[in-house]
Amino acid sequence: MTGELGQLALCFALALSLVMAVSGLMGTRPQDTTARKIASGAAMGLFVFVALAFGTLTYAFVTSDFSIIDVANNSHTLKPLIYKISGVWANHEGSMLLWVLVLSIYAALVAGLQRGGERLTSGALGVQGLLAAAFILFIIFTSNPFLRLDPAPFEGAGLNPLLQDPGLAMHPPMLYAGYVGLSASFSYAAAALLVGEAGWTRAARPFMLIAWIALTCGIALGSWWAYYELGWGGFWFWDPVENASLMPWLIATALLHSALATEKSGAFRTWTLLLAIAGFSMSLIGTFLVRSGVLSSVHAFASDPTRGFFIMVLIALAIGGALALFAWRAPTLQGGAAFDVQSRETMLLLNNVFLLAACACVFVGTLYPLVLDAINGTKISVGPPYFALTFAPIFFALLLLVPLGPQLNWKRGDLKAAWRTLYPALGLAGIAALTVLALVSPRSVAATGAFAVAGWLIGASILDIRKRKGARASAFAAALAHAGLGVSLMGVAGTTLWRSEALTVLAPGQTMTVGPYTLRFDGVTRERGPNYIADRGHIAVMNGDRVSTNMLPEHRFYPAEGADMNDTAIHTTGLRDLYLALGDNRGGGRFALRAYVSPLAPLIWLGGLVMALGGFLSLWGRLRVKDTEPATPAPAAALAAE
């Protein structure tokens, strides 16, 4: 019964999304008030029915209803409740339903908040409706989560143990909130092209911010998961799936900056529209990469080519349609703001150039091997060394410029004065560099440079915050986000350049050293988890003869899935991680033990949090101030008249 209910709800959702698409687009005509009302109503209805379908599937997972194929393939009665729930989106079908759920939430928000003019909102809803219809069709025809299985098995096949983890339970919803959040900017941009309204950046700003915050948190969460779960202490692997989430983030970051210029001074109007289209295109391409099965990695659970084909057509229609609309309408927009060479606009433009080039590295690095393989079967690897030689220098150059932007005024800035203001930040950069040179051996140019730039970024943010003392909270958003970059950079540099590691086979009672730590192996016990059996290593971290702490890395075996995996143990001081992974049983009570000491590792994710917090402050400011007045006269036109 539940399966059919979900199926029915999804069909109603499809009908409503079509209604929303048609009436929303009709509502862009000035006199069509009724169509606009219908579009808003349909958006709310869409949300209700998709939520119902999603709730039904969740219910089927929680109650282990194995008569539904999706549940039978991806769940198990013994799984803890949280992983029964996260199992809903830890598979292809359910995750696509989550995708549509998030899309419908954004549609309902667009309808509920009614930001921007009526016609603009209506057009945005129309485009959201088209996207929702396309994805619901995709679900119904290629990835239906409600299909039945007869006879129903007594037990499900379980869920990949790698995914049975609190971090990864939260990771997909977070990432999707970001991916799909960019659809709101996309829809607003398309609507702005349709109705020729200039105020769209202001209307879409909260959605850009939500998407950016969610992407930032999602990427940080994913990287943290990879760090503690995969068992070799790395935090970013340039895996295509990670890259798929990094590309939308880079474009979303560029969009946030460019849209700010458009809003404040009318500059880059067409460019911002194009970025909004590009941002969601990256989300779609990311979805394609992960969902079509063209990659083989832990995320690519789907391996049916019809799905890949369907998504490819969908991408072509969405991106092609938007670009055609852009080519048709963009020339009618009044462009051409006036600003000096020394101005914040110039800095924002440079920001965009570097972010775009950084995104190009990731894009080419991810897709090139796939294309080459598809053309003539040549297999090449594009691994971390490629990105170290392309992405790293470009991003590094971007970071060097970051502090200058906020110090320059809109339209007419003074670069010399900005420099003078930033002297203390330069001082901090110098101190950071000298400290690293003096205290750390062997000396390394990379480490010195990284810490100098981190000091430069954080110093500039402190100056910015001091300057704005007493202003409302949202004024500190940029300073926080930029400082977060500096914090993450220190973490990345510390972990990559100063990590020490040891891999040893130990018998009980033996000790090993790694970095400043001495570890004593106290043997292994056999433990029983709810749905796994574990070898739990007992490792004492020694402080002289005293045990300062005990660490318990596990090697787990999941019988239902027939898979084993590592559960690492991490002891952190906040500035340094001691990281242990238990290796294989070498007989006679001897076990392999992998130990890493990663200086500053926690800063990587702390920096991500600080960045997200900056985004949050900005969002808070936007939502608190009621800025829903309809289309302001095009600022660009006003400027051109000057």
Partner: protein
Amino acid sequence: MKTVIALLLMMVPALAAPVADTFSDPATEARARNLQRQLRCLVCQGESIDESGSPFADDVRHLVRQQIAAGQSDRQIEDFLVARYGDFILMKPPLQANTWLLWLAPFVVLAAGGTVAWVTVKKASRRSD
């Protein structure tokens, strides 16, 4: 039968070639580790030979160390492995006919973007005067 045994006996020293798990000289060990990081484990997902615990990675690690012990240069070892397993084994794609686009594309985008930005700024500043 005798020949088989003779062959087996001849093979034993080769199989048991004294390749240490780690080189005692830290510089050589660092070199081996560095080289291992540049090689992809072909049977894993995105892991290097250095990180992976698979038997394949074990074999290649062994090979790398054997070749280092035999006095081969990094380049020679990489060439040897590429001849054996193809370009796919190199984490860093070599610059060659089918990869120059890969290596140049980011910098082309950077240059093109920079040019467009320069033109835009010039135009905007003329308007602003």
